[in-house]
Every structure is written in C-alpha cells, then in structure tokens.
Assembly symmetry: C2
C-alpha cells in the first residue's frame, strides 16, 4: 500500500467513524454544552433499570408547551395570524364588521388597534372565527390554512419554523419510551390537525384551550358543533389541572419558555423522583428574536427566577442550539 | 405398541391439540356464536393490510363504557356504594347531616329515601364526598376503598365483578394494535386509580364525569384541589363530545350497554370505513340480573331499537358468554 493509499484509507476510516458518532448522537442540533449533558443524563438515568432513578415506561410522561417552545411565537402567536386571516375570509358574510371593533381594525390591517382591547378582543375574534361549524369542518379549515399560510417576515410556512433541536428532543424521548404531550395555551383543535405530521404527537396527546361543543343529529347524521362559548384556558395554573384532567399522571419532564409554563414546571418538579424541568430562553437576536421579561408575547420573568432558584435547565438558544429550523 | 397405548397416545395428542386450540383462542369465555364471529371478523379485516377495510394502527381507537359494560351495575352503580360509604365515614365531622336530607337517610341506611330526590340528590352527595381534598388524597381514598369494599349480595370485591369476556375483548383488541379507552358516566378520578391494574387501561385512556379543580401552592408545595363544582357529565350526548375533546379522533369500535351509550355508538357508527358497534344486553337472570327497558340503572330501550335497525352487534349474555367473572 502506498503512503497515499494508506492516508486515503485512514481518512476514510476517520470520516466513517465520525459519521457513526454523528449517527449515534440523538441530538445533533444541540451544541455539546451543560444543557445537552443535563438532558442526556436525565434520560440515561430514568431509563436505566439499575439506576435508583429508574422510571417504568408507563410513567415516562413528558409535556411540552407549543408557542415559543416547539415553534416561533414572534411577532405574535401563529393562531393570531390564523384568526386575522379567518376574519378577512369571513368578512363578506359579515358586512357589519366594517363598522364594528375589533373587526374593523383587523379588516383595515391595523392589528395594533385590533388588539388594543387586550385578551378580551382576541378572545372575541377567536370565538367569531372558531365556532359555528362542525369539528370536521374546522379541521378542514385549519388544514387548508396551515399548509399555505406563511410568516410575514421569513416567508416560511409556519410549520417550517418549528425548532429542529426540539424535534430531536421529542424523538429522543419517544425512542426512550416516553409519551410526549403538547400542553399549550393554543386551541386544542387548532393544533391537532398537524401535530402528528410535524411533531410526531398524535391528537390524543394534544392538550390545549377549548370552546364548548355540542353533539347533534343533522338529517340523520351525527355531528359535533363548535359553540361560541369558552370551555377552558390552558395557560398558567390551568396547565397542571389540564394535565391531571387529560393524563391523570404527573409528568416527569416538562418543557416551556414563558411565565405561562411556570405552574406546569412547578407541578412536575414537585413530584417524587428525578425530574427534568426545562425553559427555552430566547437569547438569539440574530437567528430569530431575543426576548424575555419585556415581551408582550411569551413574557419570561418569574419562571426564569424560579428556574435559577430551583436548578431547572435553561436553554440559551444562542449558545446551546447549533441549528434553529429543520 | 398395544392398542391401549395407541389409544392413550391418540387421546393425549387430541387433548394437546385442543389445548392448542384453546390457547390460540383470544376469546375463550365467548361461546362460538354469531356475536363472537362478528367481533373476530371485524378485527381480522381492519388489521389485514390487504383488506379494503384496513385501518392503520394509530387510528384503531376503541371506546368502552364501564358500568354494565365492563363491570356490574346492579342493584346500583358501584360509585354510589362508594358515595354512601364516604358519607358514613365523614359523618362524625358533619353532625348537621343527622337532620339534613339526603344525608340523614343515607346514615339511617334508607337508600330509597336518600335517592328520592333523583339525580340532584346523588349529585349533592357526590359533591360532598368527592371534593375538598387534593387529587392525591382522593386517589388514596379510592384505592383504600376499592381494595376492600364488597358487593352486598355476592360478597365479592367490586373489581372481582368485572366481566371476563370483556377483559378478553380488551386484551384481544390491544394485541391487535388498538388503543382501548374507557368512556364512562362515572367519575374520571374514581376510575383511574384501578383501571390499569384491573382492565389494563392506563389513566390517560380513562374519560369520565368530572368536577372542577384548582392549582394552588400550599406552604410552597403545589397541589391540585378538588372543588364542589360540576365540570362535565360524561353521559349520552356528552360521550361523543368528550371523546372528541380527549382523543380528537373518532373511534372505530365502541362498546356500551345502555341508552347512555347511544350517542357514542351513533358517532362511532357514522364514521367512514368498517366499524364495530356493540351493546351488551343483560339477559341472564340466573348468573346475574336480567334487565333492560324497565331498569332505573342502565336502562336499555332506544339503543336496542337502533342496534337492530343499524345492524349493530348485540351480546346476549345468556347465550354468548360461557363465563361471567374471572
């Protein structure tokens, strides 16, 4: 073998070996920092039958916030874009909206005035656009929108603005016997049509805010109709109660990014045995938006203080994530 | 080989073969009737990738009523026995109950008078006994009761009065990739502590009636407190809406025994593709109680008419079940 051939073979073997290392790494979009080490150590310990931290597979429940944790939430929640698009689509059937706030401002494209009424305005807009149809009709509307609507700044589909490191984390946990749930302030039926395709999370593992529904027979066919009446807001203290209502078990791992997730992390953290509580801190003003305590959307202040006090894991996006989007 | 030896060997082989047949039969407590044939045919078709009725595993959702379908419900719901026992246990802390209906009648053992106020009385009794504690405290109370309380007539534990043929059906469906859910009018947190052990159904696959809850911090520890306020009654038209809310998919198989299950079966039956809708008809006055249209508990009238009209499968317990209890 010539020296050249030998070097080529050596290089080949080295490249092959590094390929194997890459292929073995379940979290390739995470830099080799303490954050990644915390995650891997937690998963290794709770899945090792010889560890005192071992947790049987049926109890490996992990809950993820959606907006700001699994996908972007700036400059406003994706579902707010959906609501505004629906208002425009439905406007021809509602000529009165031209004169009536907050609809009039939405139709003029003046989102700031439209949202001047705060949560109450947004709730009114959501009710007007999320009710009055059957569950199957609403599913079709969401599917049509989510496969075409694009972020105004990046031009990407919203489902292309999911965080690649979090996709890897979801898959890594599932490969280790975890059941992964979404627990979001967003509408439960707004998420279900696409979470299985995008996150690998099936509809029965999606928990969210909801409006009331009603079963009825229409010409001999049973339908479930969506009513303009609030059922449940799955945010803040609502998250742990929704987890108990839907899952009936306390998670052993919980992932969020804002004060809306604080109580979910507190509830998870207070259970017996080893836990992983993690906050995504949006520190990267270059690749996306850097924000925390002063942001109207996804405000992060109290939860960050508690994370430091309680030793929860905090993702520093700039330092911890090698890649943002798939 | 002597003729005797030969006969012995033959008999042995025959017995061995019949053992194998038994071992192969996933539903040994079901007689070989049309009912069993319907069930097996349905499961065979929806799981056969070459069949036009094939359903992918993720969509194989089966929902089971509990009272009267998976366990007995006569002379009254098991949870009513629990409520009455709790009233007696809590009486020393409520001296006023001695003079106050419906509590006074319960304490005198006069259940007929206690229930004279109908559902409203039962609801009041349930609220008084199911709220005011944390979710974990309630779980302990249910666990202590369910492992000791016995049926007044049979002397068996209530969890020994589950129907063996239905246990086999649950296991058979799961072995064929189905996710089995309980969808019951009973309390969701009254069932969850024991359904995994008894039915193999984990807490996150239990849907039921519920009261409201509240997350709060107690001396720095987060708890979820049960409030004396109704949240949802999971019966009749409530069942399909609860299925949509918790699962977000339409079942392809549904199992009930009373008019309270009619809408769940209608909703299941109206979906696309092959379905199995099944009613358990309590026809066996010898091994348990025969009842249908005239029973106050588990009334079966309209659903039986619709079953015949729509070709749903009806279990005739006397004719179809070789064995009742495990």
């Amino acid at each position: 073998m010539s020296r050249f051939t030998f070097l080529c073979v050596l290089t080949g073997v080295f490249l092959l070996a590094s390929e194997f290392v890459r292929a073995d790494d379940p979290l390739p979009s995470w830099h080799e920092t303490a954050t990644k080490k915390n995650i891997v150590e937690f998963v290794t310990q709770v899945t090792d039958p010889k560890s005192s931290d071992f947790v049987p597979p049926t109890e490996r429940i992990a809950t993820f916030d959606n907006d700001g944790t699994l996908w972007g939430e700036q400059p406003m929640y994706v579902q707010a874009f959906f609501v505004f698009d629906r208002i425009k689509a439905l406007a021809p059937q509602h000529p009165e909206w031209k004169e009536q706030e907050p609809y009039a401002s939405v139709l003029k494209g003046d989102l700031k005035s439209a949202l001047a009424g705060g949560e109450r305005s947004l709730l009114e807009l959501a009710m007007a656009t999320h009710s009055g149809m059957t569950t199957e009709e609403f599913e079709s509307i969401v599917n049509a929108w989510i496969t075409t609507a694009r972020h105004p700044q990046t031009g990407k589909l919203f489902t292309e603005m999911v965080y690649q490191p979090m996709l890897e984390l979801l898959a890594y946990l599932r490969a280790n016997g975890f059941k992964t749930y979404i627990v979001s302030g967003g509408g439960i039926e707004f998420m279900r049509p696409w979470t299985e395709r995008v996150y690998g999370v099936p509809p029965e593992q999606v928990i969210g805010s909801s409006i009331k529904t009603k079963f009825e027979m229409r010409n001999g066919t049973p339908v479930i109709v969506r009513l303009p009446e609030l059922n449940f807001i799955d945010d803040k203290a609502g998250k742990p109660t929704a987890i108990q209502h839907h899952i009936g078990r306390r998670p052993i791992a919980a992932f969020g990014n804002s004060d809306g997730d604080l109580q979910m992390l507190q509830w998870t953290s207070a259970g017996p045995g080893r836990k992983l509580c993690l906050l995504v801190h949006h520190t990267d003003g270059k690749r996306e938006v850097a924000y925390d305590r002063d942001s109207a959307v996804g405000r992060l202040a109290d939860a960050l203080i508690e994370a430091k006090k309680s030793g929860w894991t905090v993702v520093d996006i700039q330092a911890d994530w090698a890649r943002l989007y798939p």
